[in-house]
């Protein structure tokens, strides 16, 4: 009898584990399937959609958002949220653009400047959330208005026009390597780098650990506060970089640059399968979520559907994605319980 049970349990456990792994993969494959579906619908509705030219346009539009979505995903993984991403981008973009307009011969140190500013802003968020023990939504809601307000105060109602920016900055985003925009390559590179960092480095795993079970993480001996601070710092760093890219892309930097991106980045991350309750999801998924949003935008424009339908669809897809996420989470929990009971029976 016991021999039989011993023989049986491993297969059961493997099956169960198989399901939970499958469900975890489903989060990324789900967004891929969604992307495919949306693409299929639009290609059937309009012939202009399925062209190489349009595909590159979509990819370029999604590129910067995918970095911000990755930044948002890192924070979401720790069970927090960052609604100040748009303001951080705007702040960094304006300050770096202003610096570049005053120093026409500025070189690559501009990128460093953007990264440092972004990191600083992110660290402030992190300090408030981790060490100030402020709810992340409230803290970043406050810094969202603070950073945007500081940008206004710094700008004095001015804007930095594209003829004041250094030529290399504007040209670099229009570069093409083998027909692919350099912007897309840079963004893929950054997202993959972050993904590797989160997947294979101990610090990256700690970010997941804090989000999955903060209490267990404390008992394990990790300092949660540092991890959260790091996550926010990383998020700010990426937002600073994205802000610079966006400034170079649009050319004319105004104080309202990237306002509303907190919404899109959250939408992208949630659609990409990053759980709002922390601990699960990937930055690759978030970047794919950004691609989904860009595809929907592009398709709606091609079909001539009014812009405000976008808000409706974007909002509804967040709710739908959150529902799917909770459903998957419940299934995983169930299958893990099954595993435990399986062992106990043995």
């Amino acid at each position: 009898m016991s021999l039989l049970a011993e023989k049986n349990t491993p297969t059961v456990a493997v099956q169960r584990r198989g399901f939970s792994e499958f469900a975890l993969r489903l989060r990324v494959s789900g967004v891929l399937a969604f992307l495919f579906l949306v693409g299929l619908i639009f290609s059937l509705l309009t012939p202009q959609f399925f062209t190489v030219q349009n595909a590159t346009a979509i990819a370029s539009n999604a590129a910067i958002l995918s970095i911000v979505a990755a930044a948002q995903a890192i924070v979401l993984l720790t069970r927090n949220v960052d609604v100040s991403v748009g303001s951080m981008m705007g702040f960094t973009a304006y300050l770096t653009a202003d610096y570049a307009s005053r120093h026409p011969n500025v070189g690559a140190e501009l990128v460093l400047l953007a990264l440092v500013i972004g990191l600083g802003l992110g660290m402030i968020n992190g300090l408030l959330v981790a060490y100030g023990r402020v709810s992340s939504l409230i803290a970043t809601l406050a810094t969202m208005s603070l950073y945007r307000g500081f940008t206004y105060m710094y700008a004095h109602g001015q804007e930095v026009t594209s003829n004041k920016l250094p030529k290399w900055m504007l040209h670099s985003v229009d570069l093409r390597v083998w027909g692919i925009p350099a912007l897309v390559i840079v963004c893929i590179f950054v997202v993959v780098l972050v993904a590797i960092f989160l997947r294979h480095y101990p610090i990256g795993r700690r970010i997941y650990a804090v989000g999955s079970n903060p209490l267990a993480t404390v008992f394990y001996g990790l300092r949660i506060q540092r991890v959260v601070l790091l996550a926010y710092g990383l998020s700010g760093l990426l937002c600073g970089f994205a802000g610079l890219l966006y400034a170079a892309r649009v050319g004319t930097v105004t104080v309202i640059l990237a306002s509303g991106w907190e919404m899109s980045s959250l939408a992208a991350a949630v659609i990409g399968g990053v759980s709002v309750t922390g601990g699960s999801g990937t930055v690759i998924g978030a970047a794919l979520g950004a691609l989904v949003l860009a595809t929907i935008d592009n398709g709606l424009v091609l079909l001539g559907i009014p812009e405000f339908w976008r808000m409706f669809i974007q909002g509804s897809s967040i709710v739908a994605a959150a529902a799917v996420d909770v459903f998957i989470g419940a299934r995983i929990r169930k299958s893990l319980q099954g595993q435990r009971f399986g062992r106990r029976a043995a």
């Binding site: 603070l146 949630v270 976008r310 409706f312």
Partner: protein, 330 residues
């Protein structure tokens, strides 16, 4: 009986009241036009519509949830009023219908949060976009300004010797009603219980799901009143109405001493915080301080408001470290 109705304002509420008076004094210093009954009564209008939203949000926050879609619900309300006005429907018929629809939008939030157990931040973030889109879909991008006078009455008229705005009376009634519901009824006490400990409340037999759905519905219905006030004040309705107002609303609720994690807070605190924020805003407006700087001040206040508990905790932590004989705190 006497004991039940006797109440003592908390330290936090006293501080808010004192700060409000101080802000008033500061405003009077800044501008000679401040100390004028007409001006002060008029300034209350600025925070009536966010105030009504804040009352609704307060109930939701006490439950430990959040609703950032309220400003979008308000926009749906204003656009609906504009449609009814276009069809020459009397406001007395339109108002219950709009309250019903906005309540339904709130109930949908509640159903998603409590019924499907989705995280409220994600849900209301989604519905914030969805309802805003819905407002545009109903009203198209064109603004509507030809409101019937009966629609403007609540938001623009005054009574009692042309001083007291009707919208203020509406706000006073609403805050008294919400205060009564939250502090003197079974429903209110259950709200606090759920916010304190969701699971314990469920185990003790409280229908957590129903209570949450009701709270969200209440918040949505109050947003309909806020929409009516908006219509009266600005005389226009468009899909982007009150876009970004949710920051002010959340600031008021948090500054009013409502714990964002739920289970703690008073309606009086929220009302006092609204008065404080309204006074500061009015004073800054009279002193000709630019809008962006006002935003910075608002954001700064919110930060300080939420940091205060942590600051006091860290000072006591520091004191504990200085006094080695006491047991080390966690």
């Amino acid at each position: 009986m006497k004991g039940r109705w006797a109440w003592k304002p908390s330290q936090w509420e006293m501080m808010l009241a004192i700060l409000t008076v101080a802000a008033g004094a500061w405003s009077a210093q800044l501008s000679p036009y401040y100390l004028n009954l007409d001006q002060i009564a008029d300034s209350t209008r600025q925070f009536i519509f966010p105030g009504l939203l804040a009352l609704g949000l307060m109930v939701v926050v006490v439950l430990g949830e959040i609703d950032i879609s309220l400003a979008s619900t308000l926009a749906v309300g204003t656009v609906l009023f504009s449609k009814f006005s276009e069809c020459h429907v009397q406001v007395w018929i339109a108002l219950p219908i709009v309250i019903g629809i906005c309540g339904l939008l709130g109930a949908l939030n509640g159903l998603l949060v409590a019924g499907l157990r989705l995280p409220s931040l994600a849900v209301t973030l989604g519905t914030m976009g969805a309802y805003r889109g819905l407002a545009f879909i109903i009203g198209s991008e064109r603004g509507y300004t030809d409101f019937d006078d009966s629609y403007l009455w609540v938001g623009s008229e005054r009574v009692l010797g042309d001083i007291l705005p009707i919208s203020f009376i509406l706000f006073a009634i609403a805050s008294l009603a919400v205060g009564f519901v939250m502090h003197y009824t079974v429903f209110g006490r259950r709200c606090f219980a759920v916010g304190r400990n969701n699971d314990a409340a469920w185990f003790s037999g409280i229908k957590v799901r129903t209570i949450k759905i009701r709270a969200y519905t209440l918040a949505g219905a109050l947003a309909a009143f806020a929409a009516l006030v908006w219509v009266g004040q600005y005389g226009s309705a468009r899909g982007d109405n009150a876009d970004g107002a949710i920051l002010f609303v959340v600031t008021a609720v948090v500054l009013g001493g409502v714990d964002i994690n739920g289970g703690k807070g008073t309606v009086l605190g929220v009302v006092l915080a609204l008065f404080l924020l309204g006074t500061i805003r009015n004073g800054m407006g009279l002193a000709n301080i630019a809008g962006p700087i006002q935003t910075v001040v608002l954001g700064g206040l919110l930060t300080v408001g939420v940091l205060l508990p942590a600051l006091s905790a860290s000072t006591s932590h520091f004191l504990h470290l200085l006094l080695p004989r006491r047991s080390t705190p966690k």
